[in-house]
């Protein structure tokens, strides 16, 4: 049943220009940064750099592309997530989902997975792009895997927060703006608190947990953080929608 909702969400995304435009623009941005990365690698590495300072092309280009990806997703995810529930609330189509033999959990999970699968397309493209360098040189697939996983978890966390905010209002634009501000604040939290690295607040920063992945380090601590983040906001969304039924 969840699968049917996922299907419906993807259909909605691709039946309007929205889905295609977002996919095309994201791919354009990442493609450009990939190209610049490859170009710069030869300029930088052929210069007067000592051999021990040189880094592999995967890390060099990957840093470029995954760095910009995490930043661009900050804009892309609120744009896509803002409509998920608020638009349905506004068009009064939520009744359609609630009258069908589905639990609220299934509806929310379906919507979440629908958005995440859409964003996964983008991530798969990035991974394919960087892996394509394997045709000419040896690529560090471990590094790519850890980055892809990190980006995927980051994007899923963005989506979970986006869905929750979307369930709070019936104005998609308001949901979009609030999601963007909340995500931005969460991302740069550790910049504000850079002076005190042990601060609990800084620990909540999404970027701080994404950073080990981008270095190629898989840490269960960061895994747990993202998973808990996602579960928390999905649970809040379910509770919010359930309150609709109870309080009317």
């Amino acid at each position: 049943m969840i699968f049917n909702i996922v299907r419906k969400e993807l259909k909605s995304l691709f039946s309007s220009p929205m889905g295609w435009v977002v996919l095309a623009l994201l791919q354009f941005v990442f493609g450009t940064f990939f190209l610049i990365g490859v170009d710069q690698y030869f300029q930088t590495m052929s210069g007067a750099m000592r051999p021990e300072q040189r880094i592999g092309i995967t890390a060099f280009v990957g840093q470029n592309v995954f760095g910009i990806a995490s930043f661009v997703m900050l804009f892309a995810v609120p744009l896509l997530s803002m409509r998920l529930i608020s638009e349905e609330r506004r068009q009064q189509t939520l009744t359609f989902l609630f009258s069908a033999p589905l639990s609220i959990t299934e509806v929310v999970l379906g919507k979440f997975l629908g958005l995440v699968s859409f964003l996964s397309i983008v991530i798969v493209f990035i991974a394919a792009m960087i892996s394509s360098m394997n045709l000419w040189t040896e690529v560090d697939f471990g590094y790519i895997f850890s980055n892809v996983l990190g980006l995927w978890l980051l994007v899923a966390s963005f989506s979970a927060l986006g869905i929750y905010v979307s369930s709070l209002t019936s104005q998609p634009v308001v949901a979009g703006i609030i999601t963007f501000i909340a995500l931005f604040a969460l991302l740069i939290l550790d910049h504000f608190l850079a002076g005190d690295p042990t601060s609990t607040m800084a620990y909540l920063s999404l970027m701080r947990h994404f950073e080990p992945f981008s270095r190629g380090l898989l840490d269960t601590k960061d895994f747990a953080y993202f998973i808990l983040f996602i579960i928390t906001f999905l649970t809040l969304t379910i509770r919010r929608l359930d309150a609709d039924r109870l309080r009317g």
Binding site: S12, S15, T95, F96, P101, G248
Partner: protein, 309 residues
């Protein structure tokens, strides 16, 4: 027997201390069409939302074919098709796409989806609109898509909240015929404030006012109430009232509009013949004699405002 499809018991819904619906109970059998009548804000839609599980009742419960809506919402919802007040349409999809989504979400098995969509389109007269975007359809057609969505999984109970709003007279006739047809195999609950509609399609009527059921019964009971024991008399040379009162069975005479007289008589007696005879022999100049029917509207107003009076 298991012919009871909808069983509402003591449904109550409180909004901020005010009872929007209080203590509504009724049973509906297979094959019956129930009409929900009531002025605006009476609690029709709230009651329907509670029956379909979109709103949790503050007290009381709903059972669909014996399945409790609160304990087993999934199983109960699978037996219901619901068209809310504003049809829940995804405007960016085509009619076919939307109905396919609806069929899948309502648990129609993969192989039967196509057939279910075709059948629903046929029943609602949407066959020619298959490839059109819902956004571009007229209000009437959108309403039909809403109805198609509610009947696509062949549910036991179909619940329609004001299904004929915004349709042209021909479409209204079609939809009424469809509702009658649905009544054959399913149970139908519909709300409306168009009274003749109730008379045409419904077997049972419930009038709800300020959240309370003020009338519940067969449509014939309502029709009887409306016939009344009155005659409308048009006389060119009306006699003194005493002359009319002298006729057997007549209990009261009062002036009505347009110089007509309204004559009340005892139940079971029919003074019409005697009045005509008297009029002829006394030269009253009879030009009109009619049974005075209270319109359904009057009955409705009487029922809904008797508390206030």
């Amino acid at each position: 027997m298991s012919t009871v499809t909808v069983e509402a018991s003591n449904l109550t819904r409180v909004y901020g201390g005010r009872e929007a619906v209080s203590d509504v109970s009724f049973n509906l059998n297979k094959g019956e069409v129930l009409g929900f009548l009531g002025p605006n804000g009476a609690g029709k839609s709230t009651t329907m939302k509670m029956i379909t599980g979109n709103l949790a009742p503050s007290a009381g419960g709903v059972r669909i074919c014996g399945i409790d809506m609160i304990e087993n919402p999934k199983e109960a919802k699978a037996l219901i098709g619901y068209l809310p007040e504003s049809p829940p349409l995804y405007r960016e999809l085509t009619v076919d796409e939307y109905l396919t989504v609806a069929a899948r979400l309502h648990g129609v098995k993969g192989a039967h989806v196509k057939k279910a969509v075709e059948r629903a389109k046929e029943r609602c007269g949407l066959t020619e609109m298959s490839k059109r975007l819902i956004e571009n359809l007229s209000k009437g057609y959108q309403q039909r898509v809403g109805i198609a969505q509610a009947i696509i999984h062949n549910p036991m109970v179909v619940i329609l909240d004001e299904p004929t709003v915004g349709l042209d007279p021909i479409q209204i006739r079609d939809i009424r015929a469809l509702i009658k047809e649905l009544g054959g195999e399913h149970s139908v609950i519909l709300s409306t404030h168009i009274l003749p509609e109730v008379e045409i399609v419904c077997d049972l009527v419930q009038i709800i006012h300020k959240g309370k059921l003020v009338f519940s019964g067969g449509i014939d009971v309502l029709k009887q109430q409306r016939a009344g024991n009155k005659l409308l008399l048009g006389l060119a040379h009306p006699p003194a009232q005493e002359a009319l009162l002298a006729i057997e069975g007549v209990v009261a005479v009062e002036a009505a509009h347009d110089g007509l007289l309204r004559v009340r008589f005892n139940e079971g007696q029919s003074p019409a013949e005697a009045i005509v005879q008297a009029a002829v022999s006394n030269g009253w100049g009879l030009r009109q004699i009619n049974p005075d029917q209270t319109s359904l509207e009057d009955v409705f107003v009487q029922l809904t405002y008797q508390e206030a009076a």
